[in-house]
Symmetry: D2
């Protein structure tokens, strides 16, 4: 057993040095240090890294961190929510999120045409821009292809390749050949916009067919690891893909505020996933119960 | 301002009488009483009731409660997760969930071919039955129809009408004309099974097209209400459908353990939804922060 | 292994019948049913029952439930916070708590001389009444006794015997010979008031000496059980008393919203207490993660 | 309104530079940056800084951070739990805490004479050392003084001045003239030990009298600020001291995992405290919902 050695902080210390101090601590600090260690191991050549990104991380200011992870190929596969993609596109199309308050009169916000996401404000007008630009992009996709049937993964690839902003998640994913999966894409403004588009032109996006694409990646992986931010569909979708792979994940990190006591999958322990075989018996795993807008940048900064 | 009157409990008191005691309390007790009041109002003829069912409520023993809600038409529309539907079908096909422990050696469970969901155990073999039966049902769907293109909603309707167990959620929904939406259906064993089925035969399930179906329901609703168990895709999908309806929801109840402090949509307050217009300015709303396996049966029992 | 049987709810069902339904469920429902079972066993003649009452249960409307537990001698020892005792006395002295809102302008409340406790409001003036009455009671205690040195337990007994309201927790505890411990009594308006009283007259209340009183109870107990509402000092104080008893608690129930992931004692699992010997190896234990204003009345009602 | 600017992380960046990136973010990241800003302002000459330290921070590896805060006089008053003081003394007397697991067989630990605190292990034997040393210290206190009546604050000062380890919290507090308050001191091994000591010799520690000492500090403060780690008695005791000061706290920071939804004081918002006047109307306040073993060292490191 290793003794707890007490963290010592110093002026001008680096994030990496802070994590070194955390290595000998317990609770969240010790777990975050372990997460850094596992994340570094996941960067090995032969590890396929999945990134399950739930939550509202883009509005909160985590877009650049995610994009840089893609550009450096820290991650090989992105599974995320429609919301993260929509908010990424809103910024790609010139919109911006603003720092706001979470204790506020929401009726007043509504009357000012401002949408609230916890302590982030977003002007309604940016959705109008999003809708127009999204419509133009989907029109171009159909115009430039004989195809009208897409998988979700292909559809997102087509969209990403038409986004001009190289700092967009979807565009960076295309540029760096990181496939993006978003099983619940209908559950977002992309869904609403695609439905409205359907009144004009024929667009078929299949809900099941890109499972083949993620399963192919799984089968080919020598070793595999996953970093989960929050739970939700991204976590479950990566986990279920492991169900059919004999050995499951070799590495898994959760940065989350969800706890197991609700019984839901979002907060489920990584041990629970071992009973299913989603995570391997000897996998290295850790869960850090803390706000991921704090822990994700630390994880990334200290593993560079 | 109403004074807090202290709850008095008695031998053989009914659940409804307990809720009457809670009416004059605060914290969770007061909120649960308010939820019952709102839920009763939502039963009015002219209110379209949406039910957003996340979590793992079926494994935990809530199947009958949900089915009875459908049979009584307490709810008019069900939006749920693939997991809830899969576990419903597992039971429809003769499988069973068991009471287990959450502090357990998961490797031992794995070796005994038992999958764990918090403190529920499920024998792996039930998935084999599920896969065979699901395969037969989808084969029959394609055999008995010239159609190969389905919306998710239609696909679930076709499945439901082929389930023999009248106590199945999907079957009861068909019998009682309650449409079922499941935007993240790919993120479940239904997804995995449908992908494998795709190697044999052509099956197209569109990811966007049933948005039209839920929007039609929204447009027709004179008044609308929603009961949310947990958050996730079911909550967001109902909420986003309200974005295009001028007045938003008139009633909303959340039974959840998710809190706002994570910034995610699952724990977002119902007030936040007012800034977006998803919930109307004058809507009656309440959130009860407690385990929904405790509060849902109470809510239902005391409103009968 | 017992199969999960799905809860069935019915019109006019009793709380006890609901709990019977929960017995075959999992998650919170199953745990609450187990808590009822353990609570009933704790009522056996030879079990000394400790009640650790943290939180702000009195303002929330739980005073009558607690008082009735004392009157029926469901519990043998009460360990609680100064806050619960102060709010009990405020009501004993004619004050009242009111149902309010938790999303509110607190500056406005301040200007209206209203103190907020989550969604409960309390008029400032009730503290003035409390101060006067408390001052009179302590004056009477010193006048009627040659003693100026008290243990906290004795001091509370003296106060309780001077409270007219038989529905007060402190008075009911005196009437029914249930000792009340409150190690952090200084951390409440009783503390502030006693400090101010100290400018007028000599009052000595010892912080350590009633440990002897609780230890005596522990040593005499044939079997012992504890019901914990929340954590804090009441939980820890009961737990530490068990440290010196060879076999620890035989029964333990936690009704709480605190989870283990913070590392603090409030959310610590009951298993953790077994490593210390505070809870016996073979003890029956359960934790219900839900709002105790909902679960405590249910627990009590269904065990009558 | 300030736009969210996305955090950019870099190799070898300092903790302070990371916080600069967080300044333009939202959610926990934005809040942590705001906490750093407030903490720096609290270091001004004319601000009296209270530090409310709950939780089990010493076992988790935060002892050095706390001691250095005392040595630099970042804080002027410490209010804490008996547990933190006991674990500090255990280390001062040569004991050590060890990194362990939170999923473990607690009966096995018990049989190995190891006590568990979440994922920290502590050998039982260190308590024996603690008991002997504590006994010797209290004997010496009584031997070297004609006094047998102490306030808790004085008692801790006497203990602290007899601890050899200059890296002990209690000793550093004495050396740097930082008064230590611990209203629930009885609720710890100090309490158990003092009770047993009482069988040998007369020791009177008053539970109310050091309220005068903290009130004197409050009255003299030109401006005041508080940093709260977790809630519990330390938070409430500082808060209630502000009740009698006209303007309340000017600055307040909470680093916690406790959320308001339970209704308890630990998770109560800082706004709620404004209704009571514990925090001033125009005070600068922020709550960071994250594991404090992660956020406290960051807060301190980036404000040096």
């Amino acid at each position: 057993m290793n003794p707890v050695k007490h963290a010592k902080v110093q002026k001008d210390m680096t994030v990496a040095a802070l994590i070194q101090q955390y290595e000998n601590c317990a609770f969240g600090a010790g777990r975050l240090a372990k997460a850094v260690k596992i994340y570094k191991e996941m960067q090995a050549e032969d590890v396929t890294s999945f990134f399950g990104l739930a939550g509202a991380m883009i509005p909160a200011g985590m877009r650049q961190v995610v994009v840089d992870m893609i550009k450096r190929r820290d991650i090989d596969v992105l599974v995320t929510t429609g919301a993260n993609l929509v908010h990424d596109m809103i910024e790609a199309f010139g919109g911006e999120h603003c720092q706001g308050q979470c204790s506020v009169d929401d009726i007043e916000l509504k009357n000012s045409k401002i949408d609230r996401i916890y302590d982030v404000y977003l002007a309604d007008e940016h959705f109008t821009t999003f809708e127009n630009r999204f419509d133009a992009i989907v029109t171009d996709i159909l115009d430039s292809s004989s195809q009208t049937q897409f998988t979700i993964n292909d559809f997102l690839h087509e969209i990403g390749s038409r986004i001009m902003d190289k700092n967009s998640i979807l565009r960076a994913a295309v540029d760096n050949e990181v496939p993006v999966f978003c099983p619940a894409i209908a559950d977002s403004s992309i869904g609403l916009q695609s439905w409205m588009f359907g009144y004009k032109r024929d667009l078929h996006v299949d809900t099941f067919k890109d499972i083949r694409q993620i399963m192919d990646i799984c089968y080919k992986a020598r070793r595999s690891g996953a970093l989960f931010i929050g739970g939700g569909v991204p976590k479950n979708f990566i986990m279920q893909s492991m169900l059919l792979i004999p050995k499951g994940l070799d590495f898994a990190i959760q940065l989350t505020m969800d706890t197991p006591e609700t019984g839901g999958l979002s907060g489920a322990t990584l041990d629970e996933a071992k009973s299913w075989g989603k995570i391997g018996e000897h996998a290295e795993t850790v869960t850090v119960y803390s706000d991921a807008t704090i822990t994700l940048p630390i994880l990334v900064a200290s593993s560079l």
